[in-house]
Symmetry: C2
């Protein structure tokens, strides 16, 4: 399956650098940022040139390789990892990947690059496993459907957000390859429109039947009977299954419940934060007002108007039908079943 390569290591360990597809410029331009120092990776994460929990983790891992290129060893690695951890507060994959990189010995470019590539490859493999588990659910739900089976997704948990074929999109790509008749509704996902700019972009290019809707139309398409399943990604999942994901996910979950539509989260094991009991402990990043008041370069709100702009919200476990992981599907969603899945049972 041909997908995007949003994260590319170019060259050898000692003098190579990281290329990141600048997702802020999609769908208009496909341009790579050439990151030759840790700061530029930090900025790329901060300004969402690279985004999506798994992709952030992978990028930070490669940034650790760069940190060791000037021979600073463990001290330089630790310093870089602490700095990179300040880029975004919610996605736990960032801290998970940095933790793994900090444990690498010796802390030289070659050994670090091997570990970063391993994280990257593992993520790719996790996407495939999520795809297999999700495809099983999708096909079961689509059984007997006389029309194209409708799948609604929010934000982008696709190839652009991971090292592989995405998390939420993995079952979609696989269903498409198998010839299952599907139709995807992509919430455009304000304020930064990751649904319209990224999800619709990558699915459309892959030939998947995808339709963009404004976020506020999710309830309507469900009421019209067009949606058989919701799948979204995750930025951090607490021990009890409460899930932080792009703001708006919670509203979609409530709407799905009202309409009796199964609501699934798809995420790799690295997105779970077992140290956190429930969603109330997940830090939520607040972002700049301008994302809402000056979308797309034009002022769309009165000067001085106040804005509330959290980047994420938390969907409580009881609204989630199941969490599709690389280690199987957690359902019903609760701490006991999360523990079981993490142990690989």
């Amino acid at each position: 399956m041909e997908t995007f390569h949003p994260i590319v290591w170019s060259g050898d360990a000692k003098s190579g650098h990281l290329k990141l597809l600048d997702q802020t410029r999609l769908p208009e331009e496909e341009v790579y940022l050439e990151c030759r120092d840790v700061e530029s990776v930090w900025h790329a994460i901060k300004r969402l040139s690279v985004r999506g929990a798994p992709a952030i983790g992978i990028s930070a891992a490669y940034a650790c390789v760069i940190s060791a290129q000037s021979g600073g060893g463990e001290a330089a690695l630790d310093f870089a990892a602490e700095y990179l951890a300040t880029s975004r507060p919610t996605a736990v994959n960032l801290f998970w990947a940095l933790g793994r990189m900090r444990g690498v010995r010796p802390a030289d470019p070659d050994t670090l690059l091997a570990e970063a590539k391993k994280i990257h490859e593992e993520d790719k493999a996790m996407c495939l496993k999520i795809g297999v588990h999700g495809l099983g659910i999708l096909k079961k739900l689509a059984e007997g459907s006389t029309e194209r089976f409708g799948i609604l997704t929010h934000c982008n948990a696709g190839a652009l957000a991971t090292g592989g074929i995405g998390t939420a999109t993995a079952p979609i790509y696989m269903a498409h390859e198998e010839g299952v008749a599907i139709k995807v509704f992509a919430d455009e996902t304000r304020p930064l429109l990751q649904g319209a700019r990224l999800t619709a972009f990558e699915l459309f290019r892959a030939g998947v039947d995808v339709r963009i809707i404004a976020d506020n139309m999710a309830g309507l398409v469900m009421r019209e009977g067009k949606v058989g399943m919701v799948i979204v990604g995750a930025d951090r999942i607490a021990h009890n299954g409460d899930t932080a994901n792009k703001v708006g996910t919670y509203s979609v979950a409530v709407l799905a419940k009202h309409h009796g539509v199964p609501f699934y989260v798809a995420a790799p094991t690295s997105t779970f934060d077992l140290a956190i009991k429930d969603g109330s402990e997940i830090p939520i990043e607040q972002r700049a007002s301008e994302e809402i008041t000056h979308g797309f370069g034009r002022r769309t709100a009165p000067e001085g108007a106040l804005v509330y702009n959290p980047a994420f919200d938390v969907t409580p476990a009881e609204l989630i039908t199941g969490i599709i992981t690389d280690r199987g599907v957690i359902s019903p969603v609760n701490a006991f079943n999360v523990d079981r899945a993490m142990r690989g049972e």
Copy 2:
């Protein structure tokens, strides 16, 4: 109370013309369109320079005056009314106002202008009455609230949408004048951002505490306990109380129900269409894909991507706590109570 004057008749009946505040250019510029023929009013309605069910009706009434200025009498009036009726299909106030104007005899500019001004004045008075009824509900719900009482609204059913202080905003303006501590959450309302561009604009200028949120945050602010009441406008209300309003209203109603937040519709009598049994018979206008794919002058979706862009959705009566009209509050919402209210009981 100082409000906007989005619709102004300038000059006498025989040679005067209609000035419409071009709402597509708000909040950046306050510019009036000078309409000296029926076509320019038709275009102003079509392209949403003037919008909001009551304001569309009033504008169409003034356009009928213009149609009679060249001495065409009844024939010219009928022709103009039929043409104007094709501008937008959902808001019933348009057809209601045109019906009233077609009944005017003699069909000369002076008599027609008197009727158009009467429609305009009546709408202004209806806003005040809606405000009084709504304020009673608002104050009761806000009683004992230790924080500012939160009100969520969608789209713009404000002064900019009417001949007066708005429908959904009327109780808000009155509460503000009385010093009731309120805080308004304005859904930005994709695709055309009437909430951010218009509602936040007029409330902010009036000194009301207003905060813009992306549509997908409505569920979140309700979950956070910040919303004590939802008030929205209406474009057409069926006999049983099913209500067509700006797309996204239905999702807000479902979210309100899930969180136990009272959900009110505010609308003048002219928005009811008793000829229609329920919401399934209300025609829903489909608008151009570009509103979603090229918002704000920049392409935000891949070339060729498909879009679903209905301008309205229908909220079923059972999700509506009450309909606040100029003739009192309809609650519970059903055909029997609608009939009673229409008879003024």
